[in-house]
């Protein structure tokens, strides 16, 4: 019984850490720009295909080291320029946040259909980042899970460091809190918006690389990921990064417990029930502001 619960908690932590990595990107974009990025899930898939091209199709030497070293700049450039070219012109118009939602929804469909056109409808499998198991007393872990957990936490820590210690991070925080005041002290708002979008693309894309090892690269994965990331940010409080962290952990745990005791089939309904109850009593989410 005791060992069982510890195992469930570990599995919940594992889920929660990757969810956190992915959900904070969505929360970040909403927090800074007040626009919702519906193409978010499609960048998850992009991360998966990027890794597949390098590892399987091209078979590069160096494996996942090369994947991460190249994927991060690649995802940054993709995110930055998509924002500059597609979304930034919308800001000259009224009610641009709504228009940005429409556009990113279109972008998501475009990318998802593009993946099928380019790579076919079949799932692709990625090699495991490490193989084998690790036994610690009564517990047996897959080494892959441990590496995914460590990389997610590292990603989160890097993100926190970036936000609190760099010029870009400071500018992002300032724009999120007060776009008008930020520009007055000389912060280029447009560039911060694009950088925010790019950083969020990296976060979800890296999440895609990590999770596609377990769930395959699936051209239609974006909807599920989008829903999950949205549920977490809405539950945590739209735009609140801290809220998303807690929400990711709670939802990761809930999934692990419900999956174990009630069966996998009840996971989604349990998560959505939690979301609806939370929003009924606290429409702003756990840590969102009204």
């Amino acid at each position: 019984m005791f060992i069982e619960i510890i195992e469930i908690i570990i599995s919940g932590l594992l889920n929660g850490s990757v969810y956190a990595l992915m959900a904070i990107g969505l929360a970040l974009v909403y927090g800074v720009t007040k626009a919702f990025n519906f193409a978010y899930g499609s960048f998850y898939t992009m991360g998966g295909y990027f890794a597949w091209i390098l590892l399987v199709s091209l078979g590069v030497k160096g494996g996942y080291y090369v994947v991460f070293l190249t994927a991060i700049p690649f995802l940054f450039v993709v995110g930055y320029f998509l924002e500059k070219i597609l979304i930034s012109p919308l800001r000259k118009r009224d009610d641009w946040q709504m228009k940005a939602m429409m556009l990113t929804l279109g972008l998501s469909l475009f990318l998802d259909i593009g993946y099928i056109a380019a790579f076919g409808p079949n799932l692709k499998s990625l090699p495991d980042i490490v193989e084998g198991t690790l036994a610690l007393g009564p517990f047996v872990f897959m080494k892959q899970d441990i590496v995914i957990f460590i990389l997610s936490i590292t990603g989160l820590l890097c993100f926190a460091w970036l936000l609190n210690n760099t010029r870009v991070g400071m500018a992002v925080q300032a724009v999120a809190q007060n776009p008008v005041g930020a520009q007055i002290v000389g912060i280029p708002k447009e560039r911060v918006f694009a950088a925010t979008f790019a950083i969020s693309t990296i976060l979800v894309g890296v999440g895609g690389i990590l999770l596609s090892q377990k769930n395959f690269v699936n051209p239609q994965a974006s909807t599920g990921i989008m829903i999950k990331a949205w549920v977490i940010t809405a539950f945590g409080g739209m735009g609140s990064i801290k809220g998303s962290l807690y929400a990711a952990l709670i939802i990761g745990m809930l999934e692990a417990f419900v999956g174990y005791y009630l069966g996998m089939i009840h996971i989604e309904i349990a998560v959505l029930t939690l979301l609806l109850i939370t929003l009924a009593f606290r429409p702003q989410g756990l840590m969102g502001r009204e």
């Binding site: 010029r167 925080q173 300032a174 809190q177 007060n178 005041g181 007055i184 002290v185 912060i187």
Partner: protein, 237 residues
Amino acid sequence: MLKAINITKKFGALAAVNNLSFEVEDRQIFGIAGPNGAGKSTLYNLITGFYKYEGKIEFDGKNISGLPTHKIARLGISRTFQIPQIFESLTVEESVNIGGRFGSSGKFNTGYSDEMIAFTSLEQERSNKTNLLNLLGKKRLMIAAALATNPKILMVDEPMAGLNAMEIKEMTGLIKSINQDLKITVIIIEHFMKVLTELANPILVIENGKEICTGTPEEITSDPEVIACYLGDSHDT
């Protein structure tokens, strides 16, 4: 130093600023007065590049019309707002440092930000979150962050609004000191005529976006048109 040439801003059919021209000289405290809705704050939004407009604004001989807000800020025009705009989750020190870090093109100088914290008497509160400050504190903070960008011109928008008599005295002293000790040109919008005539010279009076007159405090307070449109209804507020 700052020259506006025939600037006009229309919102639909309404001209909020209507063919306005004026010139602010180095080291002046340039006052702007006018009844509510006269277009004073809109004028600030034009100078700082928040809105596009017709006409031209020159700063140090350089045309700044159409430049984005953050570039205008970096050239040396800074402003504060009627309702304090602050970074709520940051501390006083962090907020002022943001001004210092992004506002000027030169290297970030912590020393200068520290001086500005001391200059605006925020030393005691430097590690506090900004949302704990009272109204005067928030106004001082806005000024400190604006000064940390190392501006040549500081534009303040109704700095006295909401302050009591003692606080008004303090704020008046601070604005004088910005002009005299830091040698920064100041533009001030102020509803409170007594303060404006004490601080500013010259004063531009506008109504419905148009200039009524520009002159010394004595000239404008004796101008019949100004008395009729402006002082008549508010000189005792």
